[in-house]
Symmetry: C2
């Protein structure tokens, strides 16, 4: 019996829809009206989502009685309502689909912060006239060669950044959720491992999934463990960092820098509207979550997600399965 | 007979002064008053300079009858008045002293431009509220992997950048003043070589000395040879690029980006005061020549310059000798 797939993300383009249609009955939510979607929900075996579709609320989700497999277009699956999903629904992340682009962006944020590119460009735009005015600033500019980067979350992004770091002559420390996973370097684990990484690193990169265990991973205690002039870069999720603790730390440690492409959730959605006026701080740099979307234009996220759904449809074990229990208890 | 060295740069610190003093009579200009300097000029065999000292004007320079060797603290020697120097004065650059720091800065400028970090951070500071406003912008964000970088000037900086580029999965084209110099890759040379590099590169880095031959190297014709959405990065000297041609090109090609740490000369000095309002353009990024000064804090520029002077004092051939004739006819 052919399975039925509901595609609720336009990142799955026509080539992928055709590939899927050879192996399943395929519906695209954006080609249907609300009542058509409602009617089809009980027949859906496989769901493909990027941001969580508004048509799947607490009333409609339980009507998906046949749902067994959900493929995320995003790498992070923290937006999926695991507590409302039956335990027999398997969820796959799209890990690896954005690694190279997000890693490039992360490196850009690191250098923008270390080299004070944003701050100095702004001074020039505001009319700075004398090169000499900046003479002292050069002493505050960070040099990466010989320094240590701590990579928190050693997946596709973390590995790519680690390659860059080695080309730049940096020492790499990497923290992972568990050390059992075979990797190309020994990982620091547990709270002791994280503390060691935070204490020894000049630059710390957050590239770890947001789960119940990593929510607020970086709070006041962790920030004060870090070096006074360290740079913290976040290309994962805003809520890995405690917003208030970060704001206080940036205010009281002008040499500490935070550069982020990820923003805190507000009413369930990532938002540029922060609870504290970060954008008024010189030691804060923000980009509007542009690292991942760049990848969409490569076609890779849609293609990899479709590949994974085809594995499932072919009776094989899909890649990047996530453990839903890591997400159930989160409250954002 | 011990030679006499006049140190006219405070980048030569006490450790280097001591090393020099073991092999020569050493004077430090900042420890002397004007009349003392005037009195000693005819005895000086070796001069160490960074920016050109104001006490050496057209009247005093000819009084340095014994001068045979001049060591620059800077890599670029375009500020040295070769036309007023006797032909038997040998001049050495300080090539290599800043390579790693300048290369890091260059990579920061490339990523800041490609990832629109400066532009997007500014939008957020100005109060942008919705992440969605930036959705279209992601399509304009550059991805380095798989692209081509053209490196114009393949010395210490160019080589370091080429290592980074390979770690980022880029193809590298390199242009050099001559192909005879043994290097680790085949260099493009001549105007045909430069044209090929400009035509094929997505990112072009200027890391070549400013000489009579490279003054205005990038003018209107060269800019229009480049790809429409290319990024041009300058970590060498402002005057490699024709200021008016660049301004016109940036205005008429909004997808073209110029990111620079080097500024045009004005009345003989590098200056943030440009002839055209570059700082009003979104596709311009500027930093106030902070790439090199960063190195000073490593102590390397002073140490390498002293090493080279000690080679000369020991009767050996110093490194990084420059051909003064390449500079004589320059008019800035």
């Amino acid at each position: 019996l052919r399975k039925t797939v509901l595609v609720a993300s336009r990142i799955i383009g026509e080539p992928e829809l055709s590939r899927l249609a050879k192996n399943a009955r395929v519906f695209s939510s954006w080609k249907m009206d609300e009542s058509e979607i409602e009617a089809i929900l009980p027949e859906i075996d496989v769901l493909i989502v990027s941001s969580w579709p508004s048509f799947l609320d607490k009333n409609s989700l339980p009507r998906m009685k046949r749902l067994k497999f959900m493929q995320s277009i995003l790498v992070g699956v923290d937006h999926i309502p695991f507590r409302d999903l039956p335990e027999n629904v398997t969820v796959a992340s799209n890990a690896g689909a954005y690694s190279s682009e997000v890693a490039e962006h992360a490196w850009g944020l690191i250098l923008a912060a270390e080299k004070k590119i944003v701050e100095h460009d702004a001074k020039i735009r505001e009319g700075a006239k004398a090169l000499g005015e900046f003479a002292d600033d050069a002493s505050e500019i960070g040099v990466l060669r010989g320094k240590t980067i701590g990579i928190v979350g050693y997946g596709g992004i973390g590995r790519a950044v680690s390659d860059y770091a080695e080309a730049f002559g940096m020492k790499v420390l990497a923290f992972g959720r568990n050390s059992k996973k075979s990797t190309d370097r020994s990982l620091l684990t547990g709270s002791q491992g994280l503390n060691r990484l935070l204490r020894q690193s000049d630059v710390v990169l957050l590239s770890i999934p947001l789960t119940q265990a990593t929510l607020g991973l970086i709070g006041g205690r962790e920030l004060s463990t870090m070096k006074e002039n360290a740079t913290l870069v976040n290309v994962a999720r805003g809520d890995l960092v405690n917003q208030r603790a970060l704001y206080d730390h940036l205010k009281s440690h002008p040499g500490f820098k935070y550069a982020t492409d990820a923003w805190w959730y507000k009413n369930g959605h990532e938002s540029l509207e922060t609870d504290y006026p970060f954008a008024s701080l010189k030691n804060f740099i923000g980009t509007p979550h542009t690292s991942g979307p760049t990848s969409v234009h490569t076609g890779r996220p849609g293609a990899l997600a479709a590949d994974n759904v085809l594995l499932y449809l072919g009776g094989k074990v899909p890649k990047n399965l996530v453990n839903g229990r890591e997400y159930v208890g989160m409250s954002l």
